[in-house]
């Protein structure tokens, strides 16, 4: 187990390194932030001074080395436009993004799995066909468009739910969260559902396929022949075998939920880190872009690790041996 964790840690470090080089070189080639930021009234002397202050006058490899040595000490640089540590800016917003992503994931599981099982058990019924039709819509319509339609219907026309923001937050261990207050939930509902829609559809389809496949297998027939109740067959035999592929996909999808939250956050003015990165890219605020990507890579790696551990719990045949699974 420990050698497995060590090799995973090594993988993460390599990923971080490759990622940082790619992003750094990419950003360097995109353009000089000073041209975007500086007012035309500034003299060349002032311009040079700012370029020096930001360290942009040094060759790219030197800038990179400075970045790496600072990063190793936990300093990801100061945002050019906020003049605040980029790490602080991002971590300040991380809870909002995570709350949105996890709520969306929970919605996906709570709605997706039962609907998927149902659709898998009674594939020919009208209700099951409706569920499948819904899932096709969830797959094919773009998130931002659905988000706007939801705002138009539920906030503007019906006036049931607020269109934007986080509402009243309650501090949970010093972290502000929305899901503990009614007002918070009213703000959370639309964006989370918007983000979850694609996942719900995906989970419905996966569960349905899994259930339909497992129901045909010999051990289910055998269990039936033994006279075990349908409920128990479903709960113990079918569900457990369906869950294995599902966990892998959900783990991967949690990562994409956090990444795709950018779109939803922008539409619903949700104060998460996705909004920050969009603004940072448009003004080439390099430290914020870099820090965001670094933190995201770390998060992805941790999630993947957790998924692997969970996997071994559900399926005891999976063992941690060296770097292989």
């Amino acid at each position: 187990m420990s050698s497995y964790l060590l090799s995973r840690l090594f993988q993460t470090v390599v990923t971080l390194f490759v990622m940082s080089v790619l992003v750094f070189v990419g950003l360097y080639m995109v353009g000089n932030p000073v041209d975007v930021l500086l007012s035309p009234m500034a003299t060349p002397a002032e311009r040079l001074e700012i370029i020096r202050a930001f360290g942009l006058d040094r060759p790219v490899w030197e800038q990179y080395l400075v970045f790496v040595s600072n990063a190793l000490q936990g300093d990801l640089g100061n945002s050019f436009i906020f003049n605040q540590p980029a790490r602080h800016l991002i971590l300040q917003r991380l809870p909002a993004t995570l709350e949105l992503a996890f709520t969306a994931l929970a919605m996906g599981l709570v709605l997706g799995i039962p609907l998927g099982i149902w659709a898998g058990l009674k594939p020919d019924s009208f209700a099951s066909k409706s569920v499948m039709a819904f899932s096709i819509l969830g797959f094919s319509l773009p998130t931002f468009w659905i988000g706007l339609v939801m705002i138009m219907v539920f906030s503007v026309q019906l006036g049931w739910l607020p269109a934007s923001g986080r509402g009243d937050t309650v501090d949970l261990f010093g972290v502000p969260v929305s899901f503990l207050s009614l007002d918070g939930w009213s703000h959370l509902l639309l964006p989370a559902f918007n983000l979850a829609l694609f996942k719900i559809s995906l989970i419905i389809r996966l569960t349905r396929a899994g259930v339909m496949e497992v129901m045909q297998l010999d051990f289910v027939r055998f269990a039936r022949a033994k006279g075990i109740s349908e409920k128990r067959i479903l709960r113990v035999h079918v569900l457990k075998n369906t869950l294995i592929p599902l966990i892998t996909v959900i783990g991967l999808e949690l990562g994409s939920l956090i990444a795709f939250a950018v779109v939803t956050e922008t539409i619903f003015a949700w104060p998460g880190m996705g909004k920050l990165i969009i603004d940072a890219i448009s003004v080439l605020d390099r430290p914020v872009i870099l820090a965001y990507l670094m933190i995201t890579v770390v998060m992805f790696s941790v999630i993947n690790l957790l998924v692997d551990i969970l996997y071994s719990i559900v399926d005891p045949r999976v063992r941690f041996e060296g770097g292989s699974r």
Partner: protein
């Protein structure tokens, strides 16, 4: 305990009439202030937010003309010495009195706050060589030469209490020491999400109507519109052009428009014999010829662009400042749309069959910039200039434009000084160490430079205005830039709320009032 509760109840009954009239205002902004330090970064959202919390010695009004603020009057003692009489009845949010020492501290803090600033306030204090305290309510400012724009520059410098003269930007961003004399006091700030202010009951120009103001940031256009439609906010700025007509038709929403100070213009390569993206039959740069530039300007139907592409949110222009500004010249009319004349002029200039041109523009920096660029490309094609249009994200576009990688570009410049020299200088003065830093077309006219320089050193307003008009006339005659139109500033307010639109686009709740 019960007694206290009863007392609180009694007190609240007594104050009920007062709290019933006090109201809160929620404003949807399109961009976030990046700092609470008013001396850190010269950028629209920061300057607008600073105006809510701070005052300058003088302030700019809705048309960017100078009005007395913390200085109630001023006089010029000689060409380089200005004396300001300060208000005596002003208190800072922390309760301290406003005096001359605070002015000295504020001006000296500018270079301190410039550390790590992407665009600092130092250009505004560059000309100030000395600030002398005459008495607690009189101050003398000595400049290193005649500086007619001194008042304009001072309007940009927020006055902070002397006790905060050494406070760092980091400290202010944490919310410590954000103390001014403005209509609202600072309460809290979450970068890119929310800013909360509350009423300054002792504001020297009269307490604001709003008890508490919450600014929320909606950088996405549709989200901002949805927020006002759903009633989440009371007022939004920058209505996306596509939604203007719809909001105008809505009976529960007031749309407010004002001609803005941002000029959209075209820069053309005017100093290279061969240009990377413009070439005539012999490979030469056709943009060097003034006739060609005029032909291009005549080929543009500015009215149509404003009306169709901008949904009416613009004002066509033939010069660099909008009407009502110091230095506006009524004689400089907008070039009419005349494609026949344009073709004729092209033929006279030696291009009867036109030439090839690639036109570059940004696609995320100004409202509808890429669509305006497409429309312009079509107008040029109609007079025989084989134009292809390439639009790029601002983050890539501006560095490449500054490096002169393009031949023909579109830009937008804000007239922040309330008069023409603030645009004429950066965009049209001959490029050099101290001048023309935004002159990406490298237009150069010694005559123009001379007159502009003269205007900068002329303190007499009438004479200066005359010189500025003359300089504008020369630059527009040569078409050093082709002016297109001024972007309108727009706001949408809930029914029952009014706001006087501003040319600088600032959203200032002090001037929002309930009918």
């Amino acid at each position: 305990m019960r007694i206290i509760a009863a007392a609180v109840l009694a007190a609240s009954v007594v104050f009920l009439p007062l709290t019933a009239t006090a109201r809160d205002l929620t404003v949807g902004l399109s961009a976030s202030a990046t700092s609470m330090d008013p001396h850190f970064y010269v950028v629209g959202p920061n300057s607008a937010m600073a105006r809510n919390i701070f005052d300058g010695l003088v302030n700019q009004d809705a048309h960017q003309q100078i009005q007395p603020a913390l200085a109630e009057s001023w006089e010029r003692l000689d060409d380089i010495t200005w004396q300001f009489k300060l208000r005596t009845d002003v208190k800072f949010h922390d309760g301290s009195d406003f005096t001359a020492d605070d002015v000295v501290a504020s001006i000296s803090r500018v270079p301190v706050a410039a550390t790590n600033s992407p665009s600092s306030f130092t250009p505004y204090v560059r000309a100030i060589s000395e600030v002398i305290v005459v008495d607690p309510h009189t101050i003398r400012i000595v400049t290193d030469g005649p500086t007619p724009l001194l008042l304009n520059n001072l309007s940009r410098i927020a006055i902070i209490p002397a006790s905060q003269g050494e406070t760092s930007t980091e400290e202010m961003n944490r919310g410590n020491g954000v103390i001014g004399t403005g209509p609202f006091r600072f309460v809290s700030w979450t970068p890119d999400a929310e800013i909360v202010l509350e009423r300054n009951d002792t504001y020297w120009a009269g307490a604001p109507e709003w008890e508490k103001v919450t600014f929320r940031i909606f950088s996405n256009n549709s989200a901002r519109v949805a927020a006002i439609l759903s009633g989440d906010v009371d007022l939004i700025e920058n209505i996306p052009t596509a939604d203007t007509r719809r909001l105008e038709d809505s009976t529960s929403i007031n749309v407010i428009k004002a001609t803005g100070n941002r000029l959209m213009y075209l820069h053309m390569d005017q100093d290279r014999e061969e240009s990377p993206f413009a070439s005539g039959p012999g490979g030469e740069n056709p943009l060097l010829k003034p006739e060609v530039r005029r032909a291009l300007s005549l080929s543009i139907n500015r009215e149509a662009i404003v009306d169709r592409v901008m949904d009416g949110q613009g004002t066509p222009s033939g010069q660099v400042v909008p009407e009502g500004y110091f230095g506006y010249d009524a004689a400089l009319t907008v070039d009419p749309y005349d494609p026949d004349r344009a073709r004729e002029m092209l033929a006279q200039a030696g291009y009867p069959d036109g030439f090839t041109l690639t036109f570059h523009a940004s696609n995320d920096r100004y409202p509808n910039d890429s669509r305006v660029a497409q429309a312009l490309g079509q107008f040029f094609s109609r007079i025989g200039v084989r134009t292809s249009v390439e639009t790029l994200p601002g983050s890539v576009y501006f560095s490449r434009a500054s490096a002169l990688e393009f031949s023909f570009i579109m830009g937008g410049a804000a007239v922040e000084t309330g008069e023409p020299s603030g645009v004429l200088g950066p965009l049209l003065e001959t490029y050099g160490e101290q001048a023309g830093q935004g002159n990406r077309g490298r237009y150069s006219s010694p005559e123009f430079d001379g007159i502009l320089g003269q205007a900068r050193a002329t303190l007499d307003d009438d004479e200066r205005e005359m010189l500025l008009k003359k300089a504008t006339e020369i630059a527009m005659g040569d078409l050093g830039i082709i002016p297109l139109f001024f972007l309108d500033n727009t706001w949408a307010a809930k029914g029952g709320l009014t706001y006087e639109g501003r040319s600088d686009g600032y959203t200032l709740p002090y001037y929002v009032s309930a009918e």
